[in-house]
């Protein structure tokens, strides 16, 4: 099936939704992004991300281990930029500190676990979420589960090649891209979006 025939859209899609890649959705080339399964220019996707976050009732950022832990140089700066972005968007931050399947012993009010991300989405009534700093395979698993079982809109700010299973996915996100995203959010907010 071609990507134009399958759109990665807000769920709930039902138990065991297909991996978007298996439905023909391909990752974008450098300089491009994915919006609901279609390849678009990165700048257009960033504007759309700002709109989605600003128009949400309860947008939440899910920072993952790659940014929560200061494990190498440059991470602290990224973390600061993510926090600034969340503040600009007036969005909450709920961490994904690691990937242990701690079922059923997580507190969904304060953390998210990739093995049952729906618990946190449901508990907090999150309508738009932003994944950032989550290793690829766990992000894909969690994004698919969210699409399958919730009506949350998913966004992935990925430092690698992007995520087909997110409704909007940027790729190659660096510090300057995070700062640019924050500026877009501030501008769109000023425009009353």
């Amino acid at each position: 099936m071609l990507s134009k025939e399958y759109h990665v859209v807000r769920g709930p899609e039902g138990y065991l939704p297909p991996a978007a890649a298996s439905m023909g959705v391909v990752l974008p080339d450098k300089g491009s992004a994915l919006v609901e399964g279609c390849v678009v220019q990165t700048d257009a996707a960033m504007e759309l991300i700002a709109d989605k976050i600003l128009s949400a009732k309860n947008p939440v950022f899910f920072p993952g281990p790659l940014v929560l832990w200061a494990w190498k140089d440059g991470i602290a700066e990224k973390a600061k930029a993510i926090k600034e972005m969340a503040e600009a968007a007036e969005a909450k931050l709920i961490p994904m500190p690691d990937y242990r399947p701690k079922y059923p012993m997580i507190n969904p009010a304060i953390e998210i676990n990739p093995n049952h991300p729906n618990l946190t989405i449901w508990h907090n009534k999150i309508d738009v979420c932003v994944f950032i700093g989550v290793h690829c395979h766990y992000a894909n698993v969690a994004l698919k589960m969210i699409r399958g079982g919730t009506e949350c809109y998913t966004i992935a700010l990925c430092a690698e090649a992007g995520h087909e299973d997110a409704m909007i996915s940027l790729r190659d996100v660096r510090l300057e891209d995070l700062q640019k995203m924050t500026q877009i959010i501030k501008r769109r907010k000023g425009e009353g979006k």
Binding site: P63, L68, W69, A70, I75, K102
Partner: protein, 285 residues
């Protein structure tokens, strides 16, 4: 791993769950803690879904508190009751297919040696009696024959405990369980003797009723595996659910079996292991 890597990015401290903050502030990493310090530091396992009075849960807590180098320890587990607790353990751990744990551990150890040739990385298998003595016995024995530098710890609850209660090779002769109504017809397999004959440098059989002895065996098993070759530690971990005794009787059951002589505490050291421990003791002074 060094503790400086185990730091929360500035600005995210206020959103991290308390257990992670406690692990950083008061965890066992880069400290020389042991079972005597339990209660005074944040344990690697606090919550778990195992049954009340589970001997295995108690043993696992003691084992984790005994690890000499937790920040650089990788645990390889297998299917069984312990697999239900591992998701809660705040250490790198890998769940292997049932019985494959020693083959997976061999690969992990070799890969770590290539990737980090100058660092100590302890690879410790922790699996049940079914995974070690029955389904995975070939993988276990061949890892010993190959002299892989890994520590194998068996949590011996003498049954397949989370599948209704079938007999395992480690169940004593005559044992009647829910799924073994006629009673087991052959004797408990003597894995410590097999380990010794297969070339393990250090072999011990311990139990959670004697935490200091258990700790000593774990430390010795890991230190010997680093330098000499495979080591094996068997930890008696009785199962109140399948052996039908009260949860608060676990320790007394252990003591009774030891008194009866049906589950002895023992230790075997190869000549090389004896020399190694003597040298390490000397260096401590």
């Amino acid at each position: 791993m060094i503790k400086s890597m185990f730091q929360i990015s500035p600005g995210f401290e206020d959103i991290m769950p308390a257990e992670y903050l406690e692990l950083i502030e008061n965890g066992p990493f880069e400290k020389r803690v042991g079972v005597s310090d339990l209660g005074a530091f944040k344990e690697l396992l606090e919550e778990h879904p195992l049954c009340a009075g589970c001997g295995l849960a108690l043993s696992l807590r003691l084992i984790l508190a005994s690890l000499p180098n937790p920040e650089d320890t990788i645990i390889i587990g297998s299917t069984g009751c312990s697999a239900l607790a591992f998701p809660q353990v705040a250490l790198h751990n890998i769940h292997s297919l049932f019985g494959n744990q020693n083959a997976v551990a061999s690969g992990v150890k070799r890969a770590l040696n290539l990737r980090f040739p100058d660092k100590i990385k302890d690879v410790v298998v922790i699996a049940g009696d079914g995974a070690t003595a029955d389904i995975g016995l070939d993988m276990v024995l061949h890892s010993w024959f190959r002299q892989e530098k890994i520590t194998t710890i068996m949590l011996d609850n003498e049954a397949y405990a989370n599948t209704g209660g079938q007999e395992s090779g480690m169940s004593p002769k005559g044992t009647v369980l829910n799924m073994a109504p006629k009673g087991k017809t052959f004797s408990k397999v003597s894995i410590p003797e097999l380990a010794r004959e297969a070339g393990c440098a250090y072999v011990a059989s311990v139990n959670p009723a004697q935490p200091k002895k258990l700790e000593k065996a774990i430390v010795r098993g890991i230190l010997a595996a680093r330098e000499l070759g495979p080591t094996y530690i068997q930890v008696f971990s009785p199962c109140p659910t399948n052996y039908k005794f009260k949860p608060n009787e676990t320790i007394s059951k252990v003591r009774l079996r030891e008194k009866e002589g049906t589950y002895e505490t023992k230790e075997f050291l190869s000549t090389e292991a004896r020399e190694l421990f003597a040298r390490l003791e000397e260096e401590k002074k």
